[in-house]
Structures are given as structure tokens and as C-alpha cells.
Symmetry: C2
Subunit: 423 residues, 2 copies
């Protein structure tokens, strides 16, 4: 069971989470719960660091940030103890979450779950601080420590990954992700009031949804779950109804043509005009952007009309990355490109569906639907199960509504049993 920040913000919600954990325990299940920091704790800690240092040392930032989840876990353990069950809170390092040494963006290398297994065997509920782990000490050939193990953090949303990694290591029946939404929807219900809660989604669809704007699950956590065959169940902390189950494609009996419409309104488009059409130029440009940590998403290059002529390259980046992208690109003007044009008011709308692979004509329907709305498509990117269109940001809600209606995603063809349709 993984509880996000809003699910543990404040004493009442924390006690509510404790009761949900105890309810699972009372059903005879062994429970490991991963908790995030409460509400805005992580942002407050980052704010404290910013007050003290313009560029906080990454090791110390990890020492600082890892306290937030520890607070949640200790408080929840107190509440569970009061409910008559033994509960033990563990830090990421006590829980055996072994990571590499990349502070603030560490990757999980191993989960050494002996202590958790032992505690579960003793009947305890185990609470684990999400988002954190520990790098291993390095020893010389005589066994002496030459680099100590250090507290690390996994980066934003890392608590989902902690939960999935523990579920994989424990061979858990299910990894339940509790959030403030009831599951994964066919579109954002704030934009499409008739959006349907999806009872079942494949990992592949979930990956495409997470990478194209759906915020219910972290991309890394979905990848980890797919790679380790961990069944996910996204559900609400505040109501008992089942949510959305994410399973492997082979486990889904039916493959709907289109599952969901996702969107993002945080995009900017950067166009590089007059790029010489010779080998290595694109590599130099995008290598520099990558070194500057600019998160380039979609890239489109129009073919030059004649051999050796110049090309135009457009790509999208998160709007927050525009200043860094521009300062990285401007030194190249005159040499690698003739001009940089930035349009910050962009968005994307995507349709996702595992059945798309075997059904041609989906793209045509998308273009026709947007065209009927008078919405111009600036860039297009496709995968076997996704079609994404970059459009002007102001048109995004209308595009989402039109596509959701055109593909009839609001029709309730599924029952509310999430395990229906699962082999």
C-alpha cells in the first residue's frame, strides 16, 4: 500500500490511512505501506535549502529531504500501534532499499528485504519511507571502508517506485497506490465531466499515458512494475471503491481500440531554422541540450528540398526548461543554425489504446476530429499505441473533449470489477 502526500497530510488523514492499513491487515493480509512526505513538506524543505544555499550540495539535500517521509511513517506507526496492531517504521536504508550513488536522482539497484520479511513474519505492519534509499559502502580488498554508504533520494515521485520495488522484492499480490483520485480516467474529469474510470489498463498504455500527461502514476514506477510483473491498483484514499488495475497486456482479455485521451498544457515548441543538413549537426545540438538537462520530448525535422540544403528542426520541451534551452542554443546561432524561434503557449493532446496497433485509420480520425474543430496540428508524434498532437495551448480542452466524444470513450462498456477482463 502506497499513500501519497495528500493522503497523509494532517492528523486526520494520517489516522484514516492507518485505519485503511489495519483493515487490510484484518483481512489476513501482510502489509507493507510506503508513505510520502506529508502535503507540502518536501517543498518546504526545498524552500529552507534555497534560503540557505543557492545550489544546495546534493548529498546534504538528500539528508534534508529524506526526513519528510520518515516523519509520515513514524506518525502513522504511532496511529497503528494505537489501533492495537504492532507497527514499525523503517527508513529507506533500514528497509534495504539499495541505490546507486546519484544523489537526488538515485536508481534502485537492489532491495534487501530480510528485515521487512522478518517483521511481517512476527505479525508487524511495516511502514517504509518512500523516495529514499542508501548507497552501499565501498570497501578495499582488505574489507576496509573507503567510501561510506550514504542516504540517497530517488527524485520526484520516487515513492511510487519505492512501493513497486518493495512489491517486486516481496512478491506481493498487489501494489496498491492510494491517491486523491479514484483511479485512471479516460480523460481528465476536470475537462471531460463524462470521463470514465478505467477498470483495467495495460502497462504499455499506462506508460504512454504517464509520459503524455496523466499524473496518477510515475513513469519510472510503471516501467519498474512492467519489468518485474508487479500488478498495480490505483485507487482513492478517501473511498472504498476499486480503482484502476494495471496489468500486463497478455492479462487483458480485450484490447479496446482507444483507452484514453491525455493532455499536457506545459509545453513549449522550439524551432531551429536553417540547420545545415550534414551528419553530426543534430547530435551536437541535442547533445548540448541534454548536457544542460533540457528535457526534449518530440522532435520533428522537415526534409530539405535539395541535397545539402538547410533544414528546420522543431522540438518540444517543458515550458520551465525554455530559459536554459535558449541560453544553450544561442551560442550556436551563425554556426549550427540561423535562428531560434520559441513558442511557449503550446500543449499536447494524445490518444492511447493498445488496440490501435491492429486498426488502421485511427490517425485519420484524430486529424479529422481536430480539423472539424478548426484546431491546427503543429507537430505529430506516434507510437504503436499512441498518437500525440502538439497544438496551441488554448485549444487543448476543446481538443480533449472532441476526441473523447469522437472515440466514444465515455460509454460505460465495462463493469466496475477491476479484475474482470483479467485472465
Amino acid at each position: 500500500m502506497k499513500f501519497g502526500g495528500t493522503s497523509v497530510a494532517g492528523a486526520e488523514r494520517l489516522k484514516h490511512a492507518a485505519r485503511r492499513i489495519v483493515a487490510q491487515r484484518e483481512r489476513g493480509n501482510q502489509v507493507v505501506a510506503v508513505l510520502s512526505a506529508r502535503g507540502s513538506t518536501t517543498d518546504e524543505l526545498i524552500g529552507m535549502a534555497a534560503e540557505v544555499s543557492p545550489r544546495p550540495h546534493p548529498r546534504e539535500l538528500d539528508m534534508l529531504l529524506s526526513t519528510g517521509e520518515r516523519i509520515s511513517c513514524a506518525l502513522c506507526a504511532m496511529a497503528i500501534n494505537d489501533l492495537g496492531y504492532r507497527a514499525i517504521s523503517l527508513t529507506g536504508s533500514q528497509a534495504g532499499i539499495v541505490t546507486d550513488t546519484s544523489h537526488t536522482k538515485a536508481k534502485i539497484l537492489d532491495v534487501r528485504a530480510e528485515r521487512i520479511k522478518e517483521l511481517l513474519g512476527d505479525g508487524a505492519v511495516v511502514l517504509v519511507g518512500g523516495f529514499q534509499g542508501m548507497s552501499l559502502p565501498e570497501r578495499d580488498e582488505r574489507g576496509r571502508i573507503i567510501r561510506h554508504g550514504e542516504v540517497t533520494t530517488l527524485g520526484r515521485g520516487g515513492s511510487d517506485t519505492t512501493a513497486v520495488a518493495l512489491a517486486a522484492a516481496m512478491d506481493a499480490d498487489v501494489c496498491e497506490i492510494y491517491t486523491d483520485v479514484a483511479g485512471v480516467y479516460s480523460a481528465d474529469p476536470r475537462i471531460v465531466p463524462g470521463a470514465r474510470k478505467l477498470p483495467i489498463v495495460s502497462f504499455e498504455e499506462m506508460l504512454e499515458m504517464a509520459s503524455s500527461g496523466a499524473r496518477v502514476l510515475q513513469l519510472r514506477a510503471v516501467e519498474y512494475a512492467r519489468n518485474h510483473g508487479v500488478r498495480l491498483h490505483c485507487r482513492s484514499s478517501f473511498e472504498d471503491a476499486t480503482g484502476t488495475v494495471v496489468v500486463s497486456e497478455e492479462e487483458t482479455l480485450e484490447q479496446p481500440l482507444i483507452t484514453a485521451v491525455t493532455h499536457s498544457t506545459q509545453e513549449a515548441r522550439v524551432t531551429l531554422l536553417g540547420v545545415p543538413d550534414r551528419p553530426g549537426v543534430a547530435a551536437r545540438i541535442f547533445g548540448a541540450l541534454s548536457d544542460a538537462n533540457v528535457n526534449v520530448d518530440m522532435i520533428v525535422q522537415n526534409e530539405p528540398l535539395s541535397e545539402g540544403a538547410e533544414a528546420d528542426i522543431s522540438f518540444t520541451v517543458p515550458r520551465d526548461d525554455v530559459p536554459v534551452a535558449e541560453s544553450t542554443l544561442h551560442p550556436m546561432v551563425g554556426d549550427l543554425l540561423s535562428r531560434v524561434a520559441t513558442h511557449t503557449e503550446m500543449g499536447t493532446v494524445s490518444i492511447i489504446g493498445a488496440g490501435m496497433k491492429s486498426h488502421p485509420g485511427v490517425a485519420a480520425k484524430v486529424f479529422r476530429t481536430l480539423g472539424e474543430q478548426g484546431i491546427n496540428i503543429e507537430m505529430i508524434s506516434t507510437s504503436p499505441i499512441k498518437i500525440s498532437c502538439v497544438i496551441e495551448r488554448a485549444h487543448v480542452p476543446r481538443a480533449v473533449q472532441a476526441l473523447h466524444a469522437a472515440f466514444e470513450l465515455g460509454t460505460d462498456v465495462h463493469q466496475e470489477d477491476p479484475f474482470r477482463g483479467v485472465r
Copy 2:
């Protein structure tokens, strides 16, 4: 260097502490700094626990409370790194502070300072979270862990003890305690404006002062320093002047008759009337109070007039302990005593001085001084270097002023060099 909560509250004070640490480093010293939680952090964490649980589990309380000092240390390390020095923050457990297993009131058993020594040898400044440690894992004869090591805390004011214990383990030249007061005074300057900052105090005097109301140093920390010969220097975080040095009695050249007047206004007097004068009765009464964690200080019993008659016993407790004391004592009425009388508006005034031992007549002068003020002495307790009188709370300021004047403690007989008078 140890910085208390007010010295690290807020970004500016924390950066100020960082600069003081760097200044010591620039003088060529190796520096280990122990930090408390910032300002009211510990109280806030206790408040969070109280919201979640009426009696928080001690292990989880320690997991919770130990985060406060870690936050201070990580932030301070960031600030020192920005000043161009390498700084590493360590938790109590990373710093090798080994304690017993008594959660929330653990005692330090050992300091395994290898990692700190190694870091200092590499030129780093080491920051250690105060108030916390780690119990050792327990293993069976085959080396398997049968009880894991756990995060522990040392109880209120434990950061002073952390600092002294590290100073002892590192064989430090001095343990500097930075607070919001400039040192140890001959009386509380808020009550006696002419009170003098004492350049030098012996451990024995400091112990008596700490136990009779002076709040500049924790009693446990002074005991630890005395037992391990750690020289203490209490000084202000906010000004550069030297403060008060605490050293062993043998190191002080002169022993002033009277060093200081201390006081407390948080006392209550409990009188037990009609206690049978037979062996074991007092043991049962005070045993029960001790089991209830009532902190009994001064005890006075008047001799019964005849063999086998009943006695009256009076004792003082902190005013906050009165409700628990009363609920512990009331079941004994009729059996072990006839009546309990409580007076909550009491205080104590004490005079302390290592030279008192060899000068009779001090007690007489104390009684005469208070008598001239029309102040009635309710109870008296003495040690070789202290005379304490319980009086009505309302009279405490006047008593402190009168005693400070009578023993001429405001006269500046010492220079402001704290190491003057030290062999």
C-alpha cells in the same frame, strides 16, 4: 562547537553559525559541530505526535524527533559548502553515538568516532545531529541479528551531552557551547541587572547551578564533562566575546566564597501529614512517586516527638508534576498517611560557591539576609557547596537580589580572560 535551537532558527542564524564554524576552521582548528533542532521544531514534532496518538510509541517518537537535528545539520552543511569548505552532516548513528535501548531517554554508552576522525583528517568540517544516537544490534552466538539497532534520542537537552561526549571521544581542546546568553552569570540578569558574567566556574559549582535553576547547561552534560575532563566554554552565538569556562576544581587557582545565586520559580511543596514512623513507609511512598516519574527534589522530615508517633514529610516537585503526584498519593491516604497538603506557589533560591566548604557562617548570613527581607524559609537543603531555601514564589526575585548584594557578587573582581585563574 555546539549550537542550540535559537542559534540555528531561521536561515540567517544558520548562516551565521556556519560562518562561526568556518572562522574556527580558518584559525587552523579541526571542527566538529553539534546542532540542535531549529527553534521550536522539536515542540512541533511532539505536537504532531500528540495529534495522532495520546501516548506515542517511544520507538516511533524517536524516529520522529531525530529528524529535527538532521534538518539543521544538512542545512548548515550546505551553507558551509557555499563558504568554500567541505562539510558533511552526520546523523547520531552515522557519527557513532552508541546508546542503550531506552527510547526517548537513552544514555550514551560509547562513541565510535572513526568516521569523524577520518573526515577531519580529510579536511572536512563535520556536523553531527545532537540529541540522538543508535542502539547496537544484538546477535546470537552464530552472529545472526536477533534485535536490530534502532534510532534513539537522549531526552531534552541531549544535544549538550552529544557535544560533550564527542569532545571527550575526540580528545578535543575545548567543547564550546553556543547559546543566546553570553555565559554563566552570578545571578539571572533579568532579576539582577548588575549580575556579573563569570569568567570561570568549576564543574562542581556548575553542577549545583544547573540542578538549582541555571539553565545555560544541561546537568547531564556537565556531569559527563566532569567525568571525562572535557573543558567547556559557554558563550554567545551572537557576539565574539569569551563567555564562561567550566573546568575542574583543581584547575581553578582561587575559590571564591560564593560564585552565584540561582533560583527556580517552578516548584511545588507537597506535605504528607501523619506518616507512621516505621521502617519502609517512606520507601513505599517515594518508590510509588518514582514509578510514576514524579521528579522529587528536596525532602524534609520532621522527627516525631516520641517513638512510634507519626511524622510529617515535606518535599518539592516541579509544579507540572503535581497532578501525577497527587493521583499517586491519594490512594495511600488512611493507610500510609493521613492527609496530603499541596502548595504550588513555591520557589527556591540557592547560593553556590566552592569556597563555602572552608568558610563556616555562610548559612547564617543567608538566613539573616532573607530574614531582614521578611522572607520566611519553608525548607532548607544544603550540600558542601550549596545552600538552597524553599520560599514563597512571590518572594523569589527579592531574595535573589538581596543575596546577590549581601555576598557582593556584582563586584567585578575578575578580568574578562576566561583562562585567567586556570593552571
